[in-house]
Amino acid sequence: MLGLLGPNGAGKTTTLRMLSTALKPDSGQIHINGQDVVAKPLIGRQSIGFLSGSTGLYGRLSAKENIEYFARLHGLRGRALKTRCDELFEVLDMGSFLNKRAEHLSTGMKQKANIARAVVHQPDVVVLDEPTTGLDIMTTQTVINFIRELKNKGTPVIFSTHHLDEVALLCDRVCVIDRGVSCFDDSVENFKVKGQSQELNQAFLNLLQGVGHV
C-alpha cells in the first residue's frame, strides 16, 4: 500500500490520472501485471479501480443501477454480474438504499456506492485520489475500512492524501512528489528517519524543507 504525498499542485492527481490511463504521459512507461498500459490503455482500465473524494454518481439512476452500469462497461454480464454485485451490496451493507436514486442518497451512502462501483470488476490495482477529502467522520471511516479490507486481501493500493494519520494507519510505503518530481520513495519507517521526526506531519515538512520547498 503506497501513500502518495505532496503539497497542492505537486502533481499527485496528474500522476494518478496517468496511472489510471485518463492522461497520457509525455514520456516514461506504466506497467500493470507486465502490461504496458500507456500503449494499451483499454487493458489497463480493466485492471484498475479508481475512486476520488469528488467522484459522482448518476443522480437519476439508483445506486444499484449505477454499479451495474459500470459492471457492464467492464464486461460483466448475466450471472457473473449478479453474483459480484450481490457480494458487494452485502459487504458494504447497501441493502437499505440499493433502489434509491443516487440524487436522494446521503454522502455516506453515495461513497459506499462509489466504492462498489470502483471495485465491481475486481481490479488488480486500486487508485484512490484523496478519497476522504470533504467527507464527514462516518463516511471517512467507511472509506478507511474499505482500504483496510483491500490491504487485507493483498490488493495493491495507491492513494494520495493530505491526511498523514491515514498514511500512518494504512501505508507500507510512501512516495513524496514535489513540483512534478519524486523526492522520496521508501518505507514509512525510512520516511520518519529521512524527515527526522517520529511525527509524520513534521517529517513531511522537514523533507520538503530539505528539497527547498518550504
Binding site: R17, S20, T21, A22, L23, K24, L42, I43, R45, Q46, I48, F50, S52, S54, T55, G56, L57, Y58, G59, R60, L61, E65, Y69, F70, R72, L73, H74, G75, R117, A118
Partner: protein
C-alpha cells in the same frame, strides 16, 4: 456503445426538465400559444368588422344618394354633435381629436362634373394606422356603385349599347393565367413557415440532453470514472450521440404529430377550405420526406451541441455557448426565404438552408428527388465530419480536464 446509449436514455426519460422541453412543450404549450394567437387575431378582426364608425360628410348636397347609402350602412353612424366642419383640414383635426372616426369630403356633384367633362374628387379622411380597417373599403365600395351607375346612365343616354359599354370603358382586359396550382401557391407560404418551427425545435431537442451528457458529466464528477472504463472514446461519443439524436428527432416528431393533430381539430371546428385542400394534397410520403430530411440535420446539430457541451466545464458554461447557436440557426433559414432563393445544386450543399428550401419544395409538391438526395448526402457528410471532430474533442486531455 449500446450500454452507454441505454443508460443515457434511461437517465433522459427520468429527467423531468428535458421531458418538458422535448415532449410537453411541443405537444401542449406550442399549440396553446398558437391557438391563443389565432383566437386573439380573429377576435380583433371580428371586433373591427362589427365596430360602428362615426362619420361626417362635408358638402352632402353633392352626393345625396351616397350620403343616404352611408347613413343606412350598419357600420356607420352619422355624427350628431354640435360641431360643423367644412374642409379636409377640419376633418383631419376632428379625426385626430376623436370627435369622428371618418370624414367624407365631397368636392363636387359627380353628375354636374361629368357634364363639364371633369371627375369628382371625393376624399375619405380617417386614421389608417390600424392594421385591421374596413372603413376605406366600405366607403369606396359604396362610391363605386354610384360611379358605375352614373357611367352606365351617361353612356346609355349617348346611345351606347350596354354590351359595348364594357369595351369602351376598358378596351383591353388583362387577366392572369397562373400555372401554379393552389397547392403550389399555398405551399410557397406555408412551406416557408414550417422550417422556422421545425429546425429550431430539432436543435432544442438536441441541446438539453447534450448539455447534460457532456458538461453535466463533468460537473457531477462522473466523467472521469466513465473515461476509466474499458470502452473506447468513439464508443462513448457514439452512445451519447445516439441519445442526443433520438431526443432531437423525438422533439421534431412530437411537434409534427401535435401540429397535425391540432390543425385537424381546428379544421373540424372552423371551415378553412384553402388550408384543408392544401393539407389534403400533402401525402404521407411528403411527411416521410420531411422527416427523412430532419434526420441528417438532427445528426449535424447533435454532433455540434455534443462537441460544445464536452468542451464546457459546467452546465452554465454550456448554456452560454448554446444561446448564440440557437439564435444563429435562424440565419440560414432566413436565407432560404430571400427572393429568388431556390433549391439548386449549389444551395443543396448549404447546411440548414438546403433543408429549409427542400421542405418548402416538398410542401409545394415540386420537389426534385435528385437534389433531395444531394441534400441528404451533403448533410450526412457534414454530420460525420462533426462527429469525428466530437470524438477527437473527446480524446483531448485539454478539453476533458479543463
Amino acid at each position: 456503445m449500446f450500454e452507454v446509449f441505454k443508460k443515457e436514455l434511461l437517465e433522459l426519460v427520468r429527467d423531468k426538465k428535458t421531458l418538458f422541453f422535448v415532449l410537453a412543450l411541443p405537444m401542449l404549450v406550442f399549440p396553446v400559444i398558437m391557438a391563443l394567437v389565432v383566437f386573439m387575431s380573429s377576435q380583433a378582426t371580428l371586433d373591427a368588422q362589427q365596430k360602428v364608425h362615426t362619420y361626417y360628410i362635408v358638402n352632402e348636397h353633392h352626393g345625396e344618394n351616397y350620403a343616404e347609402r352611408v347613413f343606412y350602412h350598419k357600420s356607420f353612424k352619422k355624427y350628431d354633435g354640435d360641431q360643423r366642419f367644412s374642409s379636409v383640414e377640419e376633418l383631419k383635426q376632428a379625426v385626430r381629436n376623436g370627435t369622428i372616426d371618418v370624414g367624407i369630403y365631397l368636392d363636387s356633384d359627380p353628375k354636374k362634373a361629368l357634364i363639364e367633362g371633369k371627375q369628382a374628387n371625393w376624399q375619405m379622411v380617417f386614421n389608417d394606422a390600424q392594421s385591421i380597417n374596413f372603413i376605406y373599403e366600405r366607403l369606396r365600395s359604396l362610391a363605386h356603385e354610384l360611379s358605375d351607375n352614373l357611367r352606365e346612365q351617361t353612356l346609355t343616354a349617348l346611345g351606347v349599347e350596354k354590351e359595348k359599354q364594357k369595351a369602351i370603358v376598358q378596351p383591353i382586359l388583362v387577366s392572369k393565367v397562373d400555372t401554379a396550382d393552389k397547392r403550389e401557391n399555398m405551399g410557397e407560404k406555408l412551406g416557408a413557415l414550417i422550417p422556422y418551427l421545425l429546425i429550431p425545435l430539432v436543435l432544442m431537442g438536441a441541446s438539453y440532453p447534450a448539455i447534460d451528457l457532456g458538461a453535466g458529466e463533468k460537473e457531477r464528477g462522473t466523467l472521469e470514472t466513465l473515461l476509466l472504463t474499458p470502452v473506447t472514446r468513439t464508443q462513448l461519443v457514439l452512445g451519447k450521440f445516439l441519445t442526443v439524436l433520438l431526443s432531437s428527432l423525438a422533439c421534431a416528431t412530437v411537434t409534427v404529430l401535435s401540429m397535425a393533430l391540432w390543425v385537424s381539430v381546428a379544421i373540424s371546428f372552423v371551415r378553412l377550405d384553402t388550408v384543408t385542400s392544401v393539407f389534403s394534397t400533402v401525402t404521407g410520403t411528403d411527411f416521410l420526406l420531411i422527416f427523412a430530411l430532419l434526420v441528417p440535420i438532427a445528426a449535424i446539430f447533435s454532433s455540434l451541441v455534443l462537441a460544445i457541451s464536452i468542451y464546457a466545464r459546467t452546465f452554465k458554461e454550456a448554456q452560454n455557448y448554446m444561446a448564440p447557436l440557437s439564435m444563429g440557426v435562424f440565419l440560414p433559414i432566413v436565407v432560404s426565404l430571400m427572393p429568388n432563393m431556390e433549391l439548386t445544386a449549389k444551395t443543396a450543399v448549404i447546411p440548414v438552408t438546403n433543408v429549409a428550401l427542400a421542405i418548402k419544395e416538398i410542401v409545394k409538391g415540386t420537389v426534385d428527388y435528385g437534389l433531395l438526395s444531394m441534400i441528404v448526402i451533403a448533410s450526412i457528410a457534414l454530420a460525420v465530419v462533426l462527429l469525428a471532430f466530437c470524438v477527437h474533442w473527446f480524446s483531448k486531455e485539454e478539453v476533458l480536464f479543463r
